[in-house]
Amino acid sequence: MTGDAAPGGPAPAQQRTGRPLPFGDERHLQAHQWLVDEAYLLDAQDYDRWLDLLTDDIRYHMPVRVTTARGAGFDTAPGMAHFDEDKYSLSRRIARFNTEHAWTEDPPSRQRHFVTNVRVFATEDAAHIIAESAVLLYRSRGDVNEAAVVSAGREDLLRRDGDSWLLARRTITADDSVIRMQNLAVFL
């Protein structure tokens, strides 16, 4: 059993095909820019605009990584996740940040999403591409506690929307089994 079996509901099913697109490919350039633009929105905690970048059928999934023996066949906790979200639950999380009692982010943390190692793949369907990236989130709060870091890989399914792209599926693979951050009141 793997984290994919988590009962979080259906996700858009498109899968990558073939080798990564050349870095000069228009789709690679667009996906890369999309990811960098998104990182700036997340750093600024401009979540209302971020929400507009997500499709209505988005599945935003971050399984819990576990340490298992080589050959165990799984490295995520069965049926459990840090995030297993749809558009409604993401919008509730964002709405909460706008309430006066969300003191986990008041004062707000200073965030920097470093996005790198971008590779883009075609799918069988011209309206979708897969973008893979590594993300390092540096999050600093207050002036006493040490800053926290989360390192993760992401696989994103992007859906064409006119001249632009929307995020239809994101799978976040954290590199820690125990998240060394006091909470995940952030997005990756």
Binding site: P7, G8, L184
Partner: protein, 382 residues
Amino acid sequence: MIPAHIYNDRAVFELEAERVFARSWMFVGHESEIPAPGDYVVRRVLQDSFIVVRDEAGQIRAHFNMCLHRGMQVCRAEMGNASHFRCPYHGWSYRNDGRLAGLPFHQDAYGGEAGFRRKDQRLLPAPKLDTYNGLIFVCLDPAAEPLADFLVEIGLFREPKAEKRKDGATYWAGSGGGTTYKLPPGTFEERMRYVGYPDQMIERIKQSWSAGQQRVVGADGFMISAASLYPNLSFVHNWPRVGTSEDVLPFISIRQWQPVSENETEVLSWFAVDASAPEEFKKLSYKAYLMCFGSSGMFEQDDVENWVSLTSTAAGSMARRLLLNGRMGMLEDGTEVAPALSAEQFAGPGSARIGYSEHNQRALLNRWADQMAIPASRRVPA
């Protein structure tokens, strides 16, 4: 009054490790995490790593995760399935029931059975292990009271409408207590439906809950929303909305506050759902849990901010001069703001009171202070 420095003090933490955590029943997992023979999880009790495993005969065991030979961890994964655990250092291997199965060069290097009797060797078991309704506990004190005596019947349940909260009651009974929310008028079934339980689950709940437990909801109108078992295990029951409709859905979470150091706590969080609940209910209950609790949970985010902040503030010299208030529900002369409920008003265990109060926090701290005062005179037998 509570000395503020106890929340971040190396000496207090060291004393706690010896006098509180090493004497108490500590939760290490749920039987459903290890359903098949060989299934294991690795869990810590303070600094000690234990392999919690179901052996080939189906018995649940907790082995201290340290090779008898030279002390290497014999299991370095945190979950999986294994018939044997083999130490990577010099190859000693143990059956999943803990018995030593083999060691390389037994004859040549150790003199065979005559030189070293393999037969009597096993990984060091936890001094005590017991289960309650699927919850697995170990205790490092071989002289500890039985688990059943330590546990109280604690329910697991939360009301989403905060304005009702002040009408809820809190209760404390010996080693644990909880918080309830006041439900609107209705029968047991109507009140269970109000928090989102489907009829088929209500039928099964009626068969498995005691009469007293059912009276707390059906007659008294209290739904248990959070409960804690001394010293570091908690339960949450809440019923948020999980979609755009007005429907609410209940979830249960088990949470353990694993002490790491005087200023660090690791939180282990489980989502629990009745194995025979309808699949759709399980799915939505899981979503409800994820939204509210756990690493990304919205309710917990703000709590953790408070706890982290008070912990770091408690480290300095000024905190040693401050006695915290913690007197909610108690008047200047020590009498109570609200009287305890009668048995007719609250069918649950212990003593319960309506309204905002810190009776439970004081009960827990009193128990903690009593235990901290008892020296570790008993020695662990060899």
